[in-house]
Symmetry: C2
Subunit: 312 residues, 2 copies
């Protein structure tokens, strides 16, 4: 662990809703506008949400696979996103964003819910695919809207990782991943000092509507506890607002390794929040109460990697 300051000036670039018929070029133009705002703040890294290029399409049942595939990208960068890559490169700013990806793996095409991390020279240095896919597989007519991530996406076979960037180690996760303590622990054990996590979270959860009023609380509880228990910066970034009749929470937040929220979005629209994230501050926690080498007890954690569910 390095004791000298290693400050990464970071922007969480919250996005407002994206309409079903909004072209990617429009979403990318909004991203570039936020990027340029961040540049005026001399930011090193801009973090965009999950599925930034399109509307959150798993809310619709689409029997025709070609209609589904139209929401996916088959290469990256591509014609729609090239202007974003070019502008960020010109500004020397690193960035991450989420999108739906079709790619070949193990001899067949996979559909992933993906987030990439791009360095200041425009190179993709990390591709993360979502591990925890929420929702359901089949069309459920009783729901006011669907949540078909388990239908449209393959779960990642790659797990969690982190990469070197801006003098530190950065990892990624996506949306529902942030609710699982294992996500942050795996990232921290891979070396991550900062986790970038975009999300699209409906305020209304059809299977348990009695918890709708707790969505913002659960969002921050997850981000803050993950940061604290791992002595890690966590950048949570929403796609927010009323998107195609579906209310998405905002609350984008930059969380310090102490679990404290040090910057938080005020709107449900396109908005950047900025904070100086000193990666050296991870040591405040990691060399103390959560000194893993001193205090972790992997021998007592065998059920966690060994069994899926509660006992019968």
């Amino acid at each position: 662990m390095d004791d000298k300051n290693r400050v990464v000036r970071t922007a969480a670039a919250q996005m407002g809703p994206i309409a079903r018929d909004e072209p990617r070029a429009s979403a990318v133009a909004r991203m570039i506008k936020l990027l340029e705002q961040a540049a005026r703040d001399k930011v090193d890294l801009v973090v965009f949400p999950e599925l930034t290029l399109t509307s959150f399409f798993p809310r619709w049942f689409m029997p025709d696979q070609s209609e589904v595939d139209a929401y996916f990208e088959t290469e990256m960068p591509n014609a729609a996103t090239a202007p974003l890559f070019a502008r960020a490169h010109a500004l020397g700013i690193a960035f991450s964003f989420g999108y739906a990806e079709i790619c070949r793996h193990d001899g067949r095409l996979h559909h992933f819910n993906t987030s990439i991390l791009v360095d200041g020279a425009g190179q993709i240095i990390d591709r993360y695919r979502k591990v925890h896919l929420p929702g359901h597989t089949n069309h459920e007519l009783w729901r006011p809207f669907q949540h078909l991530e388990k239908r449209y996406f393959d779960p990642s076979p790659f797990g969690f990782q982190s990469v070197d960037l801006l003098g530190g180690k950065i990892g990624q996760a996506i949306c529902n991943d942030r609710r699982w303590p294992e996500t942050y622990r795996e990232l921290a054990l891979s070396g991550a000092e900062m986790a970038l996590i975009g999300y699209n979270t409906p305020r209304h959860y059809p299977p348990a509507p009695e918890h709708d009023h707790l969505q913002d609380f659960h969002n921050h509880l997850s981000l803050q506890s993950g940061a604290y228990a791992n002595g890690m910066w966590v950048i949570g970034v929403a796609k927010a607002g009323l998107e195609e009749g579906c209310d998405l929470i905002g609350g984008s937040a930059i969380v310090a390794p102490t679990g404290e929220i040090i910057a938080q979005a005020r709107t449900l629209g396109d908005e950047i929040i900025v904070a100086d994230c000193d990666l050296a501050r991870c040591a405040e926690i990691r060399t103390n109460i959560f000194d893993f080498a001193q205090h972790r007890r992997p021998d007592a954690y065998k059920r966690i990697a060994g069994r899926t569910a509660h006992p019968d």
Copy 2:
């Protein structure tokens, strides 16, 4: 999972400070007084803190092992605690409390930081020994007070478990265990619907005094996130107040499976808080967002049980 109500009326019995020279009989008399208050509230289960019978002795370096051993119990129940067992049995109330235990295991004497769970018939049905021992091994003169749990206690070789009680599954953990997400997950995967967690937490943390003002926040963040991410009731119970010159936080709390605190102590002294904990409410979370069988990904959690620390 059972859908009908399974309400366990539960009291968190916070204790104020226990002086170094306070005899066990005095601590037990205070416990009985809280037990009888709880009985008037028709409580099923009373949860006492960690090391309830004595002062928090790991704050003192004692070169003479016989002086250390005087804080330990070699049998349970014993003469000092028999009146508590008898009174609880007469009232038909289940209870748990923590104490320092010397016992034989694997052919040698072990010193454990222990918590036991006793049913309404006075039988000890669970013995939990602390897995995550915080603090340090050697006398560190720079500290205003010591935290010698690693010196005085053996780490538990037994891990986490849960037992049947009051129509549900109950597990235990102790103090520092509550900061580790693995604790709650192991308990939940063993079937626990409620975790009983006593603690002695100094407000001042000598290695990182800049976090002293965050102690209450970190306590509740840990208890609430553990409850939410596992759809589990969590009963956090402090030994609180100014004990032998050391400020201990209070904030005893009963946390619902949604992560909401539904009862919280108001003092730093002997105090009970009571709530009706419906174990059937675990299903609100466990059959939904945290349906482990549907959504956990143990194949992606290999580092958690496989490696102790951050990579070099």
